[in-house]
Subunit: 345 residues, 2 copies
DNA sequence: TACTATAGTGGAAGCGCTTCCACTGTTGAA
DNA sequence: TTCAACAGTGGAAGCGCTTCCACTATAGTA
């Protein structure tokens, strides 16, 4: 039937289970010959000792924290993960960090169910993922505390997320203050597959900033597509081909901002002399590239998320209100005041 | 004494253990009143059900793979991690990936011991870390297969690592072929704390390339420091202040190359017009920055490492020889042919 | 020679759950 | 009224280990 147990090994070797266990834990007090017999029985049966049984009988308490996120491709996920890791290693507790990847949105529910069923984790950090009410209650029922490290909390507690609307406004205001009037927005098409409304929220901020400056909305200046540098590149090309191209672009993420910049340069134009570009996130890369952006302290968010979860694990049924990491305008080299000459272009 | 068990709950609630278990697994067939009693007993005792016992009795087999690495700060670790993740999710097995961070080299042994003692993992992926012979034999004794994802194999099996000497030579040759003769090397001081000889190996490649071109070695052109952009920045400043500054720099990593470039620009010089810079790794960032570099397919290495480990887990005692991911010169915008005018500078 | 250490071993108990079987009441159909 | 069906419950067995106690055989000591 199933896998061989220590009893099978004992029987095969013609010894007692105690002896087998002693060999397994290379304790003393086993004669070389017996050791030999046991080893060959183990080998013959292909025996592998059960982690779980061992843990139960030795009383080892394993505590696992799961971090679940989409493929860790975008730098913004990596930064959060780094913060998560850090918070965990700063506490001197022996939690294990288990990494889960949701490769396809459809599989999210299934993966959560597996995690719950197999009681793998003591707590869950849900990053850049939206969870349904059903999933939420499944977790609650199973007694698994979780914190959301997302871009939208919907009034949810135990959630770390910045004010993306405000952030979008901040970025747009920066461009408007510099005198730009033809300001474009490059972002993800919304709603996206994972149900994360980041792009939509930042777009709302963009709109409100335009409005507060009394600038008429121009739908030509809104370019939406899949997430990533390549799509941003293509969208920007289209923007540049407009009869009246924008003089400034707000890209909803740094990665997309980089795509914009590349497209602008490929078109023989300069950043920021001809077109200003501002991003969002302030990932590591942005410092190297010298990108003006909105810093949202991603690493710190991850850190806060893990801290919150650890607190919840220590004192159950604790409810911590939403925490908003601060947003900050970081002016580097990709934005500059509007130059009237440029408007003529 | 220890934590309350299901028996304590049953006694407190005045019911049988079966009933408590039924409540816990919210199965049917428990009357609302009983449910209520059990719940309040659970609450009163602060009962939390044991993962391990549950897993043992339900026969759930958990298989864990640990990935152990230094703080995941350098992008090169992240890229490998991404490959590791990918390989795991492509197989449809239900392994969990546990992330371990070695924050200080001194704690490495201790952490490995904990992992072994608590029998947490079925296999281990050791990334960018050197392990001693003792640690090696501890793992072997404990029957935990592992693969090294490192920069040096020392003739070791089950190890994925590129030929760093060749890579160093490749980078240097590229600069020499472009006509540069004053070529500097910027890298980590060796040996480093984790015992990883990456810098030393690439430096050897640098030396051999110089030699094959018959160029006299100049120790002023070797700048060693801690890993990272900042140190590279400082080292480059010193290089630029030399009476005869180099006309080209080989930085041992892309991150350091970025530091070099920033220092060069800060000094009012241009890349590559005044000084050429080549990096190593080809991390994501490098594409955005337009850096000439040596691609070592980090993500693919991670992928190969995980695949190898999975094979070892399926067919124990398998020994796979060292695998060398290919190295490739990627010419982008930070190197150009030596310009005699520049030599005068 | 008689006794005590001690090396070497077998096996029961126990880790904290789940699950199955047995049991008691209660309901509703015949 | 009698019986089957079933909701609701208790508790033993078992998951695969470790560990402790009991036991035997041998070596060492007086």
């Amino acid at each position: 039937m199933g896998n061989p147990t220590i009893y099978d090994v004992a029987r095969t070797a013609g010894v007692g289970v105690g002896t087998v266990s002693r060999v397994l834990n290379n304790s003393t007090r086993v004669s070389p010959e017996t050791q030999e017999k046991v080893m060959s029985a183990i080998w013959a049966l292909g025996y592998r000792r059960s982690k779980v049984a061992r843990q139960l009988s030795t009383g080892i308490q394993h505590r696992n924290i799961g971090a679940i996120m989409p493929y860790i491709t975008p730098p913004s996920f990596v930064e959060r993960l780094r913060g998560i890791q850090m918070a965990l290693s700063h506490q001197d507790n022996d939690f294990n960090l288990i990494l889960y990847t949701v490769s396809e949105p459809d599989r999210q529910r299934e993966q959560l169910l597996t995690i719950i069923d197999q009681s793998t984790v003591d707590g869950l950090l849900i990053t850049a993922l939206n969870i349904s009410d059903e999933e939420r209650s499944l977790l609650t029922q199973a007694g698994i505390p979780f914190v959301l490290l997302s871009d939208e909390c919907n009034g949810e507690n135990n959630c770390i997320s910045p004010d993306n609307i405000q952030g979008g406004a901040l970025a747009t205001q920066h461009l408007l203050q510099l005198g730009h009037r033809r300001v474009a927005y490059v972002g993800d098409a919304f709603p996206n597959n994972y149900g994360i409304p980041t792009s939509e929220l930042r777009y709302q901020g963009y709109l409100s900033a335009l409005e507060s400056y009394g600038i008429a909305f121009n739908s030509n200046y809104v370019a939406l597509g899949v997430h990533g540098e390549e799509a941003a590149y293509t969208l920007t090309q289209a923007l540049l081909n407009l009869p009246e191209p924008p003089t400034a672009i707000f890209a909803m993420s740094d990665i997309q901002a980089v795509g914009c910049i590349q497209a602008i340069r490929a078109a023989g134009l300069r950043v920021p002399e001809d077109i200003s570009v501002i991003g969002f996130d302030d990932v590591q890369l942005s410092r190297y590239v010298g990108l003006t952006t909105i810093r949202q302290h991603l690493e710190q968010s991850g850190y806060m998320g893990m801290q919150t979860l650890l607190e919840m694990l220590n004192t159950p049924d604790q409810v911590l209100p939403r925490q908003l990491p601060p947003l900050e305008l970081i002016v580097r080299g990709t934005t500059q005041p509007f130059n009237p000459v440029q408007g003529a272009g």
